[in-house]
């Protein structure tokens, strides 16, 4: 009973089309052991289970008969997903870096509980980025192992050795600047080799997938709703909440009056910049949502819609800082304060932006596997 359960678990870890075959084969081998007068049954049982476990490591996972796909599709999928997780981790870390470790609201602009929640969220975000990076590395290593081509294996070694050399330089094990150069060169070689493996045989094609309107509408509505909320809150924050947070105690009209008087602030131009930013992203999102509503069937599958709409949310949040640059600088010059954002909404929006970009990257990498049934191996 336990042996059979163990064999079933081991079979689940095999490539999809090999599972049923090997499970039945192992069961038959065990059942037939007595026919061969193999009396030490417990040893035989153990041997078969160990054999099954060994097979998990040694089996050629990219064999077309096991995957139902052309050779090369599995390592490419691993590499694509690994790269997607790396991109997600990079998006999170990059936004944290751009915002100087996260925007801290001005004193009085947020309650102590909100400040504590923001602080905790900042730590969680970094942990998530680390987990995504490690998972991405595991998938990239899996890509190199399953590809079994010389180029893939060299790329894998280079992708591991390059960062290892850089780490050695950072921690001080190697002092020469040549070490840094070597590390980057080896890493670059690994990345280039990996890209060649990903783009190599079989050729990349746009898989024909379709989704019904019923499948598309919820994603289109949710995505556009999120974008509209982010853009509306972001725009109001730029011209109302953030100035009030930066200069507490003054009426909004007074704040702008002083900005015009002391700094020559042009309200009209800055309102155009902020509203132009809002209209641009709302129009882009509206266009995508409208296209998603057209036609009974459409190649805009929920995943593809999510990629586009999340990408728009991430981009809108990123470019918001440019739209509000004039207001922020004038606030700084007029009141002799820092030019960075200081409201609670300003602190929260980057989280939406980085998770939207990370989500778009992961959705882009997680294209569904196309199962076509056993494919004969090339002779």
């Amino acid at each position: 009973m336990i042996t059979d359960l163990l064999m079933r678990v081991l079979a689940r870890l095999l490539p999809p089309l090999a599972r049923a075959r090997y499970l039945e084969e192992w069961r038959a081998d065990l059942a037939g052991a007595t026919d061969l007068a193999l009396s030490r049954r417990c040893v035989v049982l153990g041997a078969v289970v160990l054999g099954a476990a060994t097979l998990l490591v040694t089996i050629e996972r990219d064999r077309p008969e096991h995957t139902g796909e052309p050779r090369g599709a599995l390592p490419r999928r691993f590499a694509r997903r690994g790269a997607a997780l790396f991109a997600a981790a990079f998006a999170i870390v990059a936004v944290r870096w751009i915002t100087g470790g996260g925007i801290a609201p001005e004193p009085g602009a947020a309650s102590p509980a909100a400040l504590a929640a923001l602080d905790a969220a900042g730590r969680v975000v970094i942990v998530l980025a680390g987990v995504a990076g490690v998972a991405g590395a595991v998938l990239l290593v899996s890509a190199g192992l399953t590809a079994r081509t010389r180029l893939a294996q060299i790329s894998l070694v280079a992708s591991v050795a390059g960062p290892a050399v850089l780490v050695a330089r950072v921690v001080g094990w190697a002092e020469s600047p040549l070490v840094t150069l070597t590390g980057f060169a080896v890493l670059l070689a690994g990345v280039v080799g990996g890209i060649v493996v990903i783009a190599g045989s079989p050729p990349i094609t746009f898989e024909h997938r379709e989704a019904s309107r019923r499948q598309r509408l919820p994603v289109a509505a949710a995505g556009f709703g999120l974008l509209a909320a982010v853009v509306t809150l972001g725009a109001v924050d730029l011209v109302v909440w953030n100035p009030q947070a930066k200069v507490p105690g003054l009426e909004l009209a007074t704040i702008y009056g002083l900005m015009v008087e002391r700094d020559g602030f042009d309200i009209r131009i800055n309102l155009i910049a902020v509203s132009g930013w809002a209209v641009l992203w709302l129009a882009a999102g509206g266009l995508v949502a409208t296209v998603a509503c057209v036609g009974r069937m459409s190649p805009l599958t929920p995943r593809r819609l999510a990629i586009v709409l999340l990408g728009l949310v991430g981009a809108a949040v990123f470019f918001r800082s440019f739209a509000g640059f004039g207001v922020g600088m004038s606030l700084a010059d007029t009141f002799a304060i820092g030019g960075g954002d200081g409201s609670l909404v300003s602190a929260i929006l980057p989280y939406f932006g980085q998770f939207a970009l990370a989500g778009a990257a992961v959705a882009l990498g997680w294209a569904p596997r196309v199962v076509r049934g056993p494919v004969p191996a090339a002779s």
């Binding site: 069961r27 081998d29 059942a31 054999g51």
Partner: protein, 130 residues
């Protein structure tokens, strides 16, 4: 058929078993029979059979469903090209064997052989589950 990247003693034993004959029904040998005849542990035999099949040396098929109740045995047999190449390799190994020191180096976790070349059935004790 693609050439094997390495030819270990265990692979030779499996090939010899496949060349020597079927399981009595004329349609190949099943995994446990290979394990018994080679005296190699299942941890070696299953991966070797998988590797040989992937390289096109061996083909496998299910025994016919009516032969026995329960799970079907997977029967392995050499392809025509695989059989020809395997015989060549084994013949070469046989002619070079007398020149060696007279004893066979056993692989880690592998089996011993009786005098006279008949494989002794011994499943490695390493394979006993905890």
């Amino acid at each position: 058929m693609t050439p094997l990247s390495r030819m270990t003693a265990a692979t030779s034993d499996v090939l010899r078993t496949l060349v020597d004959g079927d399981g009595g029904d004329g349609r190949g040998v099943w995994g446990m029979l290979v394990i018994k005849r080679t005296g190699r542990p299942a941890g070696s035999v299953y991966p070797i059979l998988e590797r040989l099949e992937g390289a096109g040396w061996v083909s496998s098929s299910w025994e016919s469903a009516s032969e026995r109740s329960g799970p079907r045995r997977r029967l392995y047999e050499l392809t025509s090209e695989g059989a020809e190449t395997a015989r060549g390799i084994l013949a070469k190994a046989t002619t070079s064997e007398p020149r060696k020191s007279g004893h066979r180096e056993s692989e880690p976790g592998g089996s011993e052989r009786r005098a006279g070349g008949a494989p002794a059935v011994r499943v490695s004790t390493d394979a006993v589950p905890a």
